[in-house]
């Protein structure tokens, strides 16, 4: 089935574009520690609010332009004529743990101290925005992914069971689902966060957010799945399986799941943007990921200053663009999938 989907997606130019962008994003996320020249907490107070450093070609090698601070009062930097620093590829830097497990030192590109390479400029304490964007991607993109996995699993279990067994189980499950849907999501997010946050350390906020996003999200999925389960239930092969004496659990997993899988995929793809936006919103409000962690929403909160606009420090707003690109890609991909799987648009976006 996946192969079939993949083929269909690649038949459409929009599908190809989306897949390419997503692959790019997620590869960047997986290898962010390798791709980022600096750690997200690496400060350099002498280079605060530095604009993106220009890259020039010298001797067929990329060099980064060296700047000097001309006017600290306005954070203005001017390039120093003729001075550049070579960009070194595949060199060792400060140690990090690849995926928290394997210690490694190699980085894709770096520049020798004391020079700096700021592909997207630096923030108020001289931290590299590009690196923070990559590390932030780890949080922002994975939260959506993990949250969706949990949500879809829960949704499938509850919705599938409800649809299959019907009767009282169905009734109770659906009331529960309606109940959760009846609360405006951000309100509930905030209330849940308020309740749970005190029990966790600031560094564990990631877990908290995933938990509360999943707790709210599964309801919508459950409802859709239940609807489909209801119709599947009457299909001959299900009845046959029952007659043959297969256990309910087996039926659920061996018969329902494959048939629902494609719908699940579409629903998941269409829901990930909501999770990404929710995490960004929470972090922006200061209720999500907090220092010393980093996420796109948190970076935007830190860019919420007048001087960012009056002094035209556009690079501090790139996390907004990153969120935008990610979300729009998922939305488009979701639509493409929906076209393939469910042309009559039975699935409503959550």
């Amino acid at each position: 089935m996946l192969k079939h989907l993949f083929k269909e997606i690649t038949r459409r130019p929009m599908g190809v574009a989306c897949l390419a962008i997503l692959a790019f994003l997620y590869l960047g996320t997986i290898f962010s520690q390798f791709l980022a020249p600096y750690l997200p907490t690496d400060q350099d107070l002498a280079n605060a609010y530095h604009p993106p450093t220009r890259i020039v070609l010298e001797d067929w090698r990329p060099h980064v332009q060296v700047y000097e601070q001309v006017d600290p009062a306005a954070a203005r930097y001017e390039p120093v004529e003729g001075e550049t620093a070579p960009v070194n590829f595949f060199t060792a830097g400060e140690q990090y743990r690849f995926w928290g497990l394997v210690p490694a030192e190699m980085r894709l590109f770096q520049v020798e101290e004391p020079h700096r390479i700021y592909l997207l400029g630096s923030d108020g304490t001289g931290r590299d925005v590009f690196s923070r964007l990559l590390y932030g991607a780890q949080v922002s993109l994975s939260i959506g992914f993990i949250g969706i996995c949990i949500t879809m699993t829960l949704g499938f279990l509850v919705g599938g069971v409800a649809g299959y067994f019907g009767g009282k189980t169905d009734f109770l499950a659906m009331r529960l689902v309606e109940f959760i849907i009846a609360v405006p999501s951000l309100y509930l997010l905030i209330a849940l966060r308020g309740a749970l946050a005190e029990h966790f350390e600031p560094e564990q906020m990631y877990l908290v957010i995933v938990i509360i996003l999943s707790l709210i999200g599964w309801a919508g999925a459950a409802r859709i799945i239940r609807g489909m389960a209801l119709s599947l239930r009457q299909r001959p092969f299900v009845l046959a399986a029952e007659v043959m004496g297969q256990s309910s659990l087996r039926i659920l997993f061996r018969h329902f799941l494959p048939n629902l899988a494609s719908y699940l995929l579409v629903a998941a793809t269409l829901s990930i943007p909501a999770y990404i936006l929710a995490e960004a919103a929470l972090s922006f409000l200061g209720l999500g990921i907090q220092e010393p962690g980093t996420s796109w929403g948190l970076m935007l909160q830190q860019a919420q200053e007048l001087k960012v606009f009056t002094l035209n420090m556009w690079w501090l707003l790139t996390p907004g663009a990153a969120i935008f690109i990610t979300v729009i890609t998922f939305n488009m991909l979701g639509d493409v999938l929906r076209d393939i799987v469910d042309p009559r648009q039975q699935i409503v976006k959550r």
Binding site: T41, Q43, L45, A46, N47, A48, Y49, Q69, P72, A73, A74, A75, G124, T125, G126, E201, P202, G286, E291, P292, Q302, Q304, E305, L306, K307, F309, T310, L311
Partner: protein, 597 residues
């Protein structure tokens, strides 16, 4: 009906709607000028020395916090005090341009030969904003109330000299005499702190034990006319979370040289905004008349100046101080939990530890980045803006992580195999710092602090609290390890005695000690008392300088940075006299709207 609207001719409706809105907006109209009541001027009306102006205009300011109370005996924070100061007067006040104490409700005074008795003549003919006459009875009532054990307040301690409350008696309708246990040189400055309360308004509540419930936020919302005072304004309306509107007090006792009763402005409005950034945005878009601008925003805000006719003035170094400190309070809470874990208390009470931490903080880097170069290192508990009292020759702590490690090693700390700092007993050094949210600079300072400490092998955790909660935690619950806060600076150091004295309520690291716990705190107490007993200015300065030396040597407060103060003000206001220290609109009653240029 619904459907007819949503058909394509509706586009025309849409356009009409937009035009209507803009048309109406332009008809918003100006605020109608205030109709002023006519009353006789008091006998002892004070004549302002500034250029006479004309009535009219609305002055709009912004604050990040709204007042918590309008009762001077309850007010603990600067925001409530400022609001109260609009409608209440003290006996004296500090003139920031002349840099000395000048009469307010007291028109003159005499100090006895032994310097212990001060006889004050009150201004005659002054009336409260409800028309009742102001007399010595009000002064006596105010002091009786503030010393009443039923109503604990911050003035009790402030007006207790050498263990004895100031004595006060009424000599006649307009004369009050104060006596102190020993000569107290800051008396005239300090006596002006408390706003004189109207006896006829509060007497009943006072007698029934309800004085502290009076003049609350509730009163402001529903019946602000109950705020009776002698100050330049009275409260017209208060909407919590939004704004407060003041209007002129029709019985105010100051006039200009043409006999016009002050203030000139028709209304003073203070908007409550969430944070510093919003305030700056409001000012830069011309919606408020005055705002303090952080060094980083100056360039950006100046760009918009031609659009909205304002100027960003440079005022020199800021007068307040900002610092980090560690909790040094021994003992346990009621629940039996020690305020600070014993091994951590050992660190915090070690001078070398504190000095090392300050050496380990890259304040120079902060100045260059977060303050855009427009700041200087703070070395003393009194800001360099206060030229008369600031001691420039105190010990300094430039950024020097090597020296920091040296000092730590002298105290038995060592870096272990993982690069973490451990004390002589093997405990890993880590602590938590509380701060309040609300501006962009605090998180940047603290994240730098965290990174700098990491270089020393120390783990720091930062937690942000709401301002009120932070104050409560450090001044009443004492359950914290480190914290960051600031104090506004006063003109005379006696305003800070609650911080300096070991018995002081604001002696943050270990407040309200019965006996000074350490030698150096005892020394500071001595110096403070000595400075208060002599009336010789040079001697006083000498003692205050020595006190600053002890503070900078022992470092109970780790000073941060003195930023340059910038204030943005709309050009159309006349009679503005920007002082070196204090509020830019200190003479708000004299400000008037100049003609459009």
């Amino acid at each position: 009906m619904l459907l007819k609207v949503i058909s394509y001719p509706y586009l025309a409706h849409l356009f009409t709607a937009f035009f209507l809105i803009f048309f109406l907006v332009s008809c918003k109209g100006d605020i109608p000028p205030l109709e002023r009541e006519e009353h006789d001027l008091p006998q002892d009306a004070e004549v302002s020395s500034t250029e006479p102006g004309n009535y009219g205009g609305v002055l709009v300011t912004a604050e990040s916090q709204q007042p918590r109370t309008f009762n001077p005996l309850v007010a603990e924070d600067a925001y409530s005090s400022e609001a109260i100061g609009r409608f209440l007067n003290g006996l004296t006040t500090y003139h920031p341009i002349k840099e000395k104490v000048v009469p307010e409700l007291a028109r003159s005074w005499e100090i006895s030969k032994d310097k212990r008795t001060i006889t004050m003549e009150l201004r005659r003919g002054v009336r409260w904003s409800d028309g009742e006459p102001f007399t010595a009875d009000d002064v006596i009532f105010t002091f009786k109330a503030l010393f009443d054990q039923r109503y604990p307040n911050r003035y009790m301690g402030q007006y207790t000299i050498a263990g004895e409350p100031i004595e006060f008696e009424k000599l006649d309708r307009y004369t009050v005499r104060f006596t102190t246990a020993r000569p107290y040189s800051p008396f005239l400055y300090v006596i002006g702190f408390i706003g004189i309360l109207p006896r006829h308004v509060h007497l009943e509540a006072y007698e029934q034990g309800e004085l502290l419930q009076q003049w609350s936020v509730r009163t402001a919302m529903h019946s602000p006319e109950e705020f009776v005072g002698t100050g330049p304004f009275r409260v017209r309306s208060f909407r919590p979370g939004q704004r407060i509107v003041y209007e002129p007090n029709p019985h105010y006792w100051r006039v200009d040289s043409q006999g016009q009763r002050l203030p000139y402005v028709d209304y003073l409005i203070t908007r409550y905004v969430q944070d510093r950034n919003t305030e700056t945005v409001l000012f830069a878009s011309g919606q408020i008349d005055i705002a303090s601008i952080t060094p980083g925003d100056v360039v950006g805000v100046r760009k918009n100046a031609p659009l909205h006719d304002y100027t960003v003035h440079h005022r020199g170094p800021a007068t307040g101080i900002r610092f980090l400190w560690f909790n040094q309070k021994p003992g346990e809470s009621e629940a039996g939990k020690p305020f600070v874990e014993p091994h951590k208390l050992e660190w915090f009470t070690s001078r070398k530890f504190r000095q090392a931490i300050l050496h380990g903080l890259d304040r120079e880097g902060l100045i260059q980045s977060v303050y855009f170069g427009r700041a200087e290192l703070l070395h003393s508990i009194i800001s360099p803006a206060n030229e008369r009292w600031h001691n420039p020759d105190v010990p300094r702590y430039p950024y020097d992580p090597d020296r920091a490690l040296e000092l730590l090693r002298e105290e038995g700390f060592e870096l272990d195999g993982n690069g973490d700092l451990v004390d002589s007993k093997g405990n890993q050094v880590s602590f938590q710092v509380y701060a309040s949210e609300g501006d962009d600079i605090t998180p940047q300072i603290l994240s730098t602090f965290r990174e700098n400490m990491r270089d020393l092998g120390i783990r720091v955790r930062i937690r942000y609290l709401d301002f009120g909660t932070l104050v409560a935690r450090v001044s009443r619950h004492f359950e914290y390890e480190g914290a960051m806060m600031g104090f506004t600076g006063g003109a005379d150091p006696s305003g800070g005695r609650a911080i300096y004295l070991s018995s002081g309520r604001l002696h943050l690291w270990n407040p309200e000690q019965e006996e000074p716990q350490t030698d150096w705190e005892a020394r500071i107490d001595e110096l403070v008392y000595a400075s208060e007993e002599t009336f010789d200015l040079e001697e006083r300065v000498g003692y205050v300088h020595q006190m600053q030396e002890v503070f900078s040597e022992e470092l109970p407060l780790l000073y941060l940075v003195t930023p340059h103060a910038y204030v943005g003000l709309k050009d159309r206001w006349e009679n503005v006299r920007i002082p070196a220290m204090g509020s830019v609109i200190w003479n708000i009653d004299e400000l008037y709207l100049g003609q459009e240029k």
